[in-house]
Each structure stands twice: as structure tokens, then as C-alpha cells.
């Protein structure tokens, strides 16, 4: 059988899952097995190339302009960037799903208003708006999570609304209505569980967008401020030393690419497995 023939759906999951486990391990176990301080360095050890050892201390990915260990900074960067992205993604999914369910179930003017708001949200070039808001409120950890989380609700709302419209007409919902159950209860216990799967699939496919967005903000120097590392601001800082030390750009970018590929593959696999339609 040819190489491509063996490239099956399972391979999507294996490659994606493998990459994800790898990056998660870097973030979770990294600080334990690699205890170098991401914020401390010696000026005498600046710009050591990857695999160089200084006074018995190995720097597998080299050091930066302040002699800090790049691996330690990437580990810390993965932790910070992933925390921001995952919490922001959860906020988007929750806000968007709630909005979509309410719009789809209630219909009428509520539906019209909420969906027009979603149109507006989708019509704004996110990054500019986010940069504007972050510049106004300041680039703290919480602010970034809130801004990224709140601006991402619209696609969740659209998908949740479409599914709710289908579920709303089913007999068991009619039965719940006939029992005169309160609407919030119908939404939470009868509608929501039946639209949950597509929303989770959507979240998986939306995470790459958030990862790149967070990294872009960091790269532009408008996100979490140095010396605290994020995957984006590591590359942003490394850009100034592109002639001297291109490893400062190379390795953080590889981690971002691995994360994005991982979530895309797992998301594709989930779409096929759950036969989700996301139109």
C-alpha cells in the first residue's frame, strides 16, 4: 500500500494528538525537568547558539540577548500563552453558545438583534480592534483574556443558533414545553446537552485562530510585556537580533506551528468522527 493510502483518519489523530501531548508536556512537566530560571541570565552568556554549554550548564536551544536560557523561556511562554488562549476560548464558547441558544430558541426580535450583533462582530478585523482595546485598557493577563474571549463569541453563536433551531422542533422539547417547564430550564437541561458536541468541535477548530492571534499581539509588543515570556513576544524580541541569533525566532515559532497543526488535525478528526456540520 502506498504511503498516502496509509494516511488515514487515525493518522490525523495520531499526529495531532502526539504534537499536542508534546507541547502540553513542555508546559506542564517542563519546569520540573528543566529548572533554569526563565527570567535570570548572565550577561557573559549572551547569544550562545543552541547546544552550547557554558560553565557546565547546557543550553539546548541557546541563550538570548540577556544570557537567559531559551528553553526555560519557551517553557514559561507555553504556559502563559496556552493559559490565555484556553481560558479565552472557553469564554468565547460559553458566551457564544448561550447567545446562540437564546437567539435560536426565542426567535423573533431577540434573534434578529443578536444575529445582527454577530454580523457586526464578524465584520470587524479582530486584530485591529483588539489592539485598540488593549492599548486603551493596558496589556495585563486578565485584560488579554477578556478581550480575546469576548471578541470570539460570534461563530459559536451562529452554529449554536442553527442547531437550536433544529432541536427546538423535536418532540421531547415540545413535551418539555407542554409540561410548562420554565424556559431557562428547557434551554439548560434539554436544548444545551443536544448541541454540545458541535460546540466542542468548533472550539477545537477555533483554538488555532486564538493561538496565532495571541502570538501576533505579543509579537507586536502590545501583549504581555517582557521580561515575562509568551510565544509571541519571544519572537518579537528575537526579531531585533535576527542577524545575531536566528534561533530566538526559530524555536518559539516551531512551538506555535506545532500547536496549530495539533488542534487543526484533532479538530478535523472530531468533525469526521462526530459527523458535525459547521455551516
Amino acid at each position: 500500500m502506498s504511503l498516502a493510502g496509509r494516511w488515514t483518519k487515525a493518522a490525523d489523530l495520531q499526529l495531532g494528538g502526539g504534537l499536542l501531548v508534546l507541547v502540553l508536556a513542555i508546559g506542564l512537566v517542563g519546569p520540573v525537568v528543566w529548572p533554569l530560571d526563565p527570567l535570570a541570565g548572565h550577561l557573559a552568556d549572551t547569544f550562545q547558539p543552541p547546544l552550547s554549554a557554558v560553565k557546565g550548564v547546557l543550553h539546548p536551544l541557546g541563550t538570548d540577548q540577556l544570557g537567559r536560557d531559551l528553553l526555560a523561556r519557551i517553557i514559561e511562554g507555553v504556559r502563559i500563552s496556552l493559559s490565555i488562549v484556553l481560558v479565552a476560548g472557553a469564554i468565547s464558547a460559553i458566551v457564544g453558545t448561550a447567545t446562540g441558544v437564546i437567539a435560536g430558541y426565542l426567535g423573533g426580535w431577540v434573534d434578529t438583534v443578536l444575529m445582527r450583533l454577530a454580523d457586526i462582530q464578524l465584520a470587524i478585523p479582530f486584530i485591529l480592534l483588539i489592539l485598540l482595546v488593549v492599548a486603551v485598557v493596558g496589556p495585563s493577563f486578565t485584560n488579554l483574556i477578556l478581550v480575546l474571549g469576548i471578541t470570539g463569541w460570534a461563530i459559536y453563536a451562529r452554529v449554536a443558533r442553527a442547531r437550536t433551531l433544529e432541536v427546538r422542533e423535536l418532540e421531547y422539547i415540545e413535551a418539555a414545553r407542554a409540561l410548562a417547564l420554565p424556559t431557562p430550564r428547557i434551554l439548560a437541561f434539554h436544548v444545551l446537552p443536544n448541541i454540545l458536541v458541535p460546540q466542542i468541535v468548533l472550539l477545537t477548530l477555533d483554538l488555532p485562530r486564538l493561538i496565532v492571534l495571541e502570538a501576533s499581539i505579543g509579537f507586536l509588543g502590545l501583549g504581555i510585556q517582557p521580561p515575562t515570556p509568551t510565544l509571541g513576544n519571544l519572537i518579537g524580541e528575537g526579531r531585533s537580533y535576527i542577524l545575531l541569533a536566528d534561533w530566538l525566532i526559530l524555536y518559539p515559532g516551531l512551538v506555535i506551528a506545532a500547536l496549530v497543526i495539533a488542534f487543526n488535525l484533532i479538530g478535523d478528526w472530531l468533525v469526521k468522527m462526530t459527523e458535525t456540520r459547521l455551516d
Binding site: 445582527r116 486584530i127 485598540l132 492599548a135 526559530l250
Partner: protein
């Protein structure tokens, strides 16, 4: 529903969207309370602050300020840039050609390449070349534009010295930024064309065309691809936003004197009237682009109920 009514409805929606964007852009300045503190330098005296506040109209009621903002917007006047002391809209328009050149170059090569890859992947589905197409599409969507841009600079400008690292000039200045900007889009087009052509090739009318003894080339090009185009066109509008966002970062990396670079500089300088002008202008372009997509969509497939 008639085509005219459809277009009118979409136009109305577009205006609504722009109104919403204008509100967000306007009120975001008030998130911290007083926009004056954002705009004056930290060492300004109390009298200077008061004078600035009055000059900008920040001491008026909020609704009056927003009404004034909207009235200016209708006339294409968004106030003066705090830094350049020129009309903000004029500054944005002056940078438009550079961004338009970059975006169209990226759009052109990536659409063309995406179509070729997508068709190849669909026709030889499951083959080795299809695997290559899928991997290329996957990695194109995985690398952030700023990282790809920097890698291109490292390899082609610094190591090989084939192309300049940045700036605007001859065609050689355009190659690297256009490649970096278009990569994501190329992947998206490849995936879409491949997926929708595979679906189209499985339809009955394709079997009919084949059974008539038409050449495979003709079956793919004339029958399947034409129908596979529809979903591709629909999402073009959505990816256009990503393209504009990417242009912003590409311009920073390659020192390309376009709107994106202007926007980031304006944000760094806390030049908020200029930032507002950029956001509104980009939203306007986006609304117009989506309108064009809707119209094309209707023309491509008259069967679709608008």
C-alpha cells in the same frame, strides 16, 4: 426574492455593520473613563489638559460627542491625527495604494496556486501527490504570518542575499511580503477547492458527463469545477478579513509603508483619532468586499434562493 431587493437588504446590513463598528470604535476610548488622559503626554499641566479636553470636545455630553463623530464620519472627516496634525482619513488614504498592491499580489498568487493544488489533490485523491498537497495546506495554515515572514527574511535576504529585507521599491521588494501574506490564504483555497471538487466529482452529473465519453479534463474543468466554485466563493469574504489582519503584520515585518504599519504606529503613539480612522476604513473595505462576494455568489448560481 428579487435580486434588487437582495442587494438592497445587504446594503442595509452593511450600513448597520458600519454603524456598529463606529460605536465600538468611538466608545472603546471611554473604557478607562477619560480619553484625555490617554492622549496628552504625562507631563502636561492641569491647564493644558483642560485646554485639550475642551479643544477635543471631551467635556460635552457623550451622546453629543458620538453624534458629532457620526456626522464627521458621514462627511469622511474623522478628526486630525494627534501626531501628524493632518486629517486622519487623508493619512489612511495616502497609505492605501501600498496595502492594495501587497494584498492583491498575495491574493493573486495564493488563489492561483490554491486552485492548482486543490484540483491536483482532488483528481489524484489518495495518491502521494495528494498527501503532499494536504501537508502543504496544513503547514500553510499552521505558521503565523510573522514567523513565516521572518524565516523568509533569514533565508532569502540574510543568508542567500537574493532579495531585500524590506521596504518598498521594485518587484523584488514585493516578493517576500506577498509570499508570507498569501501562504495562509493559499492553504485555505487549496483545502476548499480540494474538498468541494471531491464532492462534486461524486455527483450524478459527473457520471453522466463521463458516460457521454467526455475527456477527463473536460469533465473536471467544465462540469465539476464550475459547481465546486460556489462554496469557495462564499468563504472568500471571511478569509478577506484574515488577509487584512495579516497585511497589518506583514507590513510591520517588511517595513512596507501601508495602512497596517500606519495603524500599529498610531497605536504605539496613542494617536487614537488615526486608529479610529484605520479601523473604520478597514471595516468599510470589508463590508464592500463581502457585498461583492454576495453578488458574485448570486450570479454564479442562479438556483440559490437569495
Amino acid at each position: 426574492m428579487g435580486f434588487g431587493i437582495f442587494i438592497t437588504k445587504r446594503l442595509g446590513q452593511g450600513v448597520l455593520v458600519l454603524l456598529g463598528v463606529s460605536a465600538i470604535v468611538f466608545f472603546s476610548l471611554f473604557l478607562t473613563g477619560d480619553p484625555t488622559t490617554l492622549m496628552v503626554s504625562p507631563d502636561a499641566t492641569a491647564a493644558e489638559i483642560q485646554q485639550f479636553r475642551h479643544a477635543m470636545g471631551f467635556d460635552d455630553p457623550l451622546w453629543l460627542q458620538y453624534a458629532r463623530f457620526l456626522w464627521g464620519l458621514v462627511q469622511g472627516d474623522l478628526g486630525n491625527s494627534l501626531r501628524f496634525h493632518q486629517p486622519a482619513m487623508a493619512l489612511v488614504l495616502a497609505r492605501l495604494p501600498a496595502t492594495a498592491i501587497l494584498a492583491s499580489a498575495a491574493l493573486a498568487w495564493s488563489t492561483a496556486a490554491g486552485f492548482v493544488f486543490g484540483v491536483i489533490g482532488a483528481v489524484w485523491r489518495g495518491s502521494r501527490i495528494d498527501l503532499f498537497v494536504r501537508l502543504a495546506a496544513l503547514s500553510g495554515q499552521a505558521v503565523p504570518v510573522f514567523w513565516l515572514g521572518l524565516l523568509l527574511i533569514i533565508v532569502f535576504a540574510l543568508r542567500l542575499r537574493w532579495l531585500p529585507t524590506g521596504g518598498m521599491g521594485g518587484i523584488e521588494h514585493l516578493i517576500l511580503p506577498a509570499v508570507a501574506l498569501g501562504a495562509y490564504y493559499m492553504s485555505a483555497v487549496t483545502r476548499l477547492v480540494r474538498a468541494s471538487l471531491i464532492e462534486a466529482l461524486a455527483q450524478d452529473y459527473v457520471r453522466t458527463a463521463r458516460s457521454k465519453g467526455l475527456s477527463e479534463w473536460r469533465v473536471v474543468m467544465r462540469h465539476a469545477l464550475r459547481n465546486a466554485l460556489i462554496p469557495v466563493v462564499t468563504v472568500q469574504g471571511m478569509y478577506f478579513a484574515a488577509l487584512l489582519g495579516g497585511a497589518l503584520i506583514t507590513e510591520i515585518i517588511f517595513a512596507w509603508p501601508g495602512i497596517g504599519r500606519l495603524a500599529v504606529q498610531a497605536i504605539e503613539n496613542r494617536d487614537f483619532p488615526l486608529v479610529q480612522a484605520v479601523v473604520l476604513f478597514v471595516a468599510f473595505v470589508f463590508v464592500v468586499a463581502n457585498l461583492i462576494v454576495d453578488v458574485t455568489y448570486g450570479l454564479l448560481n442562479p438556483r440559490i434562493q437569495l
